[in-house]
Symmetry: C2
Subunit: 308 residues, 2 copies
């Protein structure tokens, strides 16, 4: 098998921490180029713009877009229009509509578009989905709480319109929730807490309902200190399931389930390789739609100014 020549666009924290090691370990891909204004990767050709890359390197048939959501559309559109396959970091865009546009264009041009949700590849998620599939659900509680200073140091874009604020991590929880729940949920209420000096929320409390009156709530908070909590608890008629550590740990009624942990980002690239081989796309907008719904339906509360 010849490795697909792939470029990373946006060489920031997530690219260095996750994408580059995952690509290096995957024989299906070769990191053949980068696009970065602030420095690329040793030994890999770097371009200042996506257009320059597309022009100079027709051999690079796939792009993995790791920049913040607001500038992502223009890069994705140019790449897809140019016949390249595209993988989008989460969230896949700054708006729902723009991802629908990209999806339509990818279908027209016959390339693969993969809107990734890395948390769905945490080790406990697929076993949780299988366990819940046939069980009546009574109650769901999501807690997703972390210290923004620790996890998003110096990331100014998260506080700007389109940066989503605490929904940037919270959408990871929603990507798991929408994957494991056997029935669709929708928001019935939300309270979003904005620091008085910021454009995006630092905390959110969400209430969901579903076809059979499921009671589901979620609390997202960026003011957590002393260790993060990334947890989803689902109470069923036949016991209580809990995903901890962002989905890396799974317990049923307090007993650990043995899990095979292949890593989230290696899982994403395996999935992308399968899409390229089979010629399909994978664009599930459910997590982003819940976030947009929360902004549309949510009551807004103002709290103290936040300073990095």
């Amino acid at each position: 098998m010849t490795a697909t020549k792939l470029a990373i666009v946006g060489v920031g924290k997530i690219a260095r921490d996750q994408h580059i090691p995952a690509i290096a370990a995957d024989p299906a891909f070769e990191l053949a180029a980068t696009v970065s204004g602030s420095g690329g990767v040793e030994g890999v050709e770097n371009f200042a713009t996506v257009d320059a890359l597309l022009e100079a390197r027709p051999d690079v048939t796939a792009l993995s877009l790791c920049m913040p959501p607001v500038p992502r559309f223009a890069a994705a559109f140019a790449a897809i229009a140019n016949g390249r396959h595209v993988m989008l970091e989460k969230p896949p865009g700054a708006t729902v509509a723009e991802v629908l546009t990209l999806d339509g264009l990818a279908r027209q041009t016959g390339v693969s578009l993969f809107a990734t949700w890395h948390s769905r590849y945490a080790a406990g998620v697929e076993p949780a989905r299988e366990w819940l599939a046939d069980k009546p659900i009574r109650r769901v509680r999501v807690d997703w709480k972390e210290d923004v200073r620790k996890w998003h140091p110096g990331q100014a874009w998260i506080w700007q319109p389109g940066g989503l604020g605490v929904f940037d991590p919270g959408i990871n929880a929603l990507s798991i929730l929408t994957e494991i729940m056997p029935l669709p949920l929708h928001l019935s209420g939300a309270e979003l807490t904005f620091p008085e000096n910021r454009e995006t929320p630092i905390a959110a409390d969400l209430t969901f309902t579903g076809p059979d009156g499921i009671d589901a709530t979620a609390g997202f908070d960026w003011r957590q200190e002393g260790g993060e909590i990334w947890q989803i608890e689902v109470e069923t008629d036949q016991g209580t399931l809990r995903l901890e550590s962002g989905g890396a740990r799974l317990t049923i009624d307090g007993t650990d389930r043995p899990l095979e942990d292949d890593g989230e980002y290696p899982g994403l690239y395996r999935r992308f390789a399968t899409l390229l081989a089979d010629g399909g796309s994978d664009v599930d907008l459910a997590p982003l739609i819940h976030v947009a719904d929360a902004f549309m339906l949510g009551r807004r509360v103002t709290t103290d100014a936040f300073h990095d």
Copy 2:
């Protein structure tokens, strides 16, 4: 042809002004029941709840839901689960996700779901769509400005979370825009102006972009005095199209096009009758997605308190 027995749920301003006259004039439907807590229609059986109607009147095979968006889901879900066809006033729900849930359920149960956008049935809209279909578009400007005290007297729900504020009329403009544009647009920026004592915006300025860099902007404002402006202007390489009066009037380069005006709500009920005859659904969420995107992406500005 036997008329379909139909019930109206929520007998408020829009039901009395539009739905009841349109149903009375359409031989395909018979107003057979109402659901209203505050009084129904002379000579028509009224129920206090949707459940009571569904229980007592299996002959009523279709429901037209005219209540505000927040309580709409529960009624629609009960009706569809009960095998009744459903027509939803705009906006079709308080969240995008809930309408997707309803759409999925309607497919499962084999009933017709019609998420209506009445402004799309204004006389100038279909001719505008046809005229624009093959023309390169340079610029789009939407102005949708009305006096909230005149058009929404005493409607407290429009100011509550989920009530959408100025997007309640603005979504009419978006329903026309998404119908007539040959290419999809998505929001690239928004500024939403909230009165300091209200939960929903009184004004919104939106900027859209599209696949070929179209420059499109929209201004929605509820503080308009001295006559409403409901207008969309589209500048093309081959002239400028303008829809005025909410789509009832169409000019090309300032010259009126003759239009056949059958009325918006009569058009909706004709469409619903066609869906019932053919067994299909019509659920286009594009206008609601633009609104959710605007709340998610928009910068928020606070203005003076608003008092009815």
